[in-house]
């Protein structure tokens, strides 16, 4: 069980480092905000054309923006230690409730995207691996290259124009009926290319291995070989890969949520940068980063479960 402890300890340290890094950056941001932050927040609250010196002054009084910097920072650290993430500067709602709402939306989107990506990617990969160099294999190479070359925001735009504006199949924005389809499809297709390639290579490699040949030779039915030998061993290469993909997915979430107005963490992050809403910015960034560490921890544990053999160097992502 020492290896289990090692994984937990390493990921715990990573989570701590990330949290410290993100928070430190957010301190620095508040210290040197460009322009008058009171005006920006007032614009976020009342709209651009409603801002005047009085509105800005009232914001400044309310939030204590005119106190010396060290006082504000000291309060900040104290709040963070109490896990009190403060209130949004724009909506003045508690950040914790806002961010948990965003997190739910993002997770919903991420899970559906991964499901789409695995179905499409693994499907293409397995079919391609049946005859390396065959027609399906060439098609899969083309798919991988094509998906890799189109950035998520262009893919999203394309889907929006074709499926929503032209064919009217799904709504282009919002959380309404079927609103999740387009963003999830965009992310899922973006991720499917690399998953297809890794699946293909892993399956080809495992199928050519000596133990699969032996299993077939001793008369094990092909279906059993696939389930007991090929799938498990191919999963050992695939699962760590999903951890890496998750980082890519979170990046995509930022873009795709903004494009489709999907009210998740990425969307809130972009808006928080735009309005300089520091508490929301810090909370969103923290939650996203910790989410990645958490997923990678789970991936590490899954790999340990699938392949308990000791390894020289653990795969990191």
């Amino acid at each position: 069980m020492t290896r289990l402890g090692g994984v937990i300890a390493r990921r715990g340290a990573q989570a701590l480092a990330v949290a410290i890094g993100v928070s430190a950056l957010c301190f620095v941001i508040t210290q040197r905000l460009p322009g008058d932050i009171a005006y920006r927040i007032a614009a976020g609250r009342y709209g651009y054309d409603m801002v005047d010196a009085d509105a800005a002054a009232s914001v400044r009084d309310e939030l204590g923006l005119d106190r010396p910097l060290w006082q504000q920072l000291g309060e900040w650290v104290a709040d963070l230690l109490r896990l009190d993430l403060g209130r949004s500067l724009v909506t003045s709602q508690p950040v914790l409730t806002e961010v948990s709402h965003y997190l739910a939306a993002t997770l919903q989107l991420a899970v559906l995207s991964i499901v789409i990506a695995v179905i499409v990617g693994a499907g293409i990969g397995v079919v391609a691996a049946r005859r390396p160099g065959g027609f399906a294999d060439r098609f899969s190479s083309l798919w991988v290259a094509g998906v890799r070359a189109v950035p998520p925001f262009l893919l999203g735009l394309l889907l929006m124009i074709v499926l929503s504006a032209q064919l009217g199949l799904f709504p282009a924005v919002g959380h309404g009926d079927g609103g999740i389809v387009l963003p999830a499809l965009t992310l899922g297709l973006s991720l499917s290319g690399l998953i297809a390639r890794v699946t293909r290579d892993a399956v080809v490699e495992v199928r050519g291995s000596a133990y699969v040949e032996f299993a077939l030779t001793k008369g094990l039915p092909e279906r059993w070989v696939l389930v007991r030998h090929v799938l498990r061993n191919a999963a050992v290469s695939l699962v760590p890969y999903l951890g890496v993909q998750f980082v890519v997915l979170i990046e995509g979430v930022v873009v795709v949520e903004s494009l489709f107005a999907w009210d998740g963490l990425g969307h809130s992050l972009v808006h928080a940068v735009f309005w300089r809403d520091i508490p929301v910015l810090q909370a969103s960034a923290l939650v996203l980063a910790l989410l990645i560490v958490l997923v990678n921890t789970l991936v590490d544990l899954a790999v340990l479960g699938l392949d308990p053999r000791p390894r020289g160097r653990a795969v990191t992502a």
Binding site: A17, I29, A145, P151, P152, F153, V254, V273, R276
Partner: protein, 283 residues
Amino acid sequence: MSMLMLEQTVGARPVRSSRQARYIAWTRIASLVGLGLIIAFALVGPLVLPDPAAQDLARYLQPPSVADPLGTDDYGRSVASRVAHATRVSLLLAAVCVATALILGCVAGVLSAWFGGWVDALLRSISEAFVAVPALLVVLLVSALAAPGSMVALYVGLALVQWVEFFRVVRARSALVLGSPAVEAAGLLQLGWPHVVRRHLWPALRPLLVTLSSLGMVTSILAMSTLGFVKVGLQPPRAELGLMITESFPFYDAAPWMPLAPVAVLFCLTVCLLGLRSNEEGR
């Protein structure tokens, strides 16, 4: 082989046949030519085309013509000229980011592999923290630091994100090379460290660095245009590829040709840079 490395070499399979080798060689030549054309457009275009900021409201949304091969936008500005300027900004900024990341990452990676011990532990823990945070998030946080639309913020953010990849790959490969019998022999012969770097490290690292750099360029260019697209990157009136696509939204019916050029440039740049990768399988 680290996972990130796997992701990078995912497109490059080890060469199996001479036919495949020829195909890859052709791909690289075609990519180089394509990239050369885009670079020429980015360098020469701004010199010969009209001023990208010159507005002429009488020429609102004109379709492509001889005078303006890509038409004009909603302020009557020449789209061709704006695309040329945007391409130049993207290429220059990406190149500077990748160069910075390459130097930082290489030095750190070789030091880490060479000295090991606490140097290695320190550098690795720094890189671990970075790896867990997605690149766009770092760039977003850094861009929140500076005035909106600041070039420096984009540069710092992108360089910060990318040195990690160089560091990890260089560290892994250097450790292998430095532990090899050849380097041991060089040490016993007292040939000194410049010899080891020149004759052992550099040849092993070079193909990896070419691949990583071209991928880094793709990452930078796409990250820039993505941020421009969601309006937290470079700000108008500066011409930027992602921003130009967003700006053409309202005129999607009246001027469908407007977003075509920036999209085409982004697509071609990505394809050409991905085609440049050397077919070195990193292990």
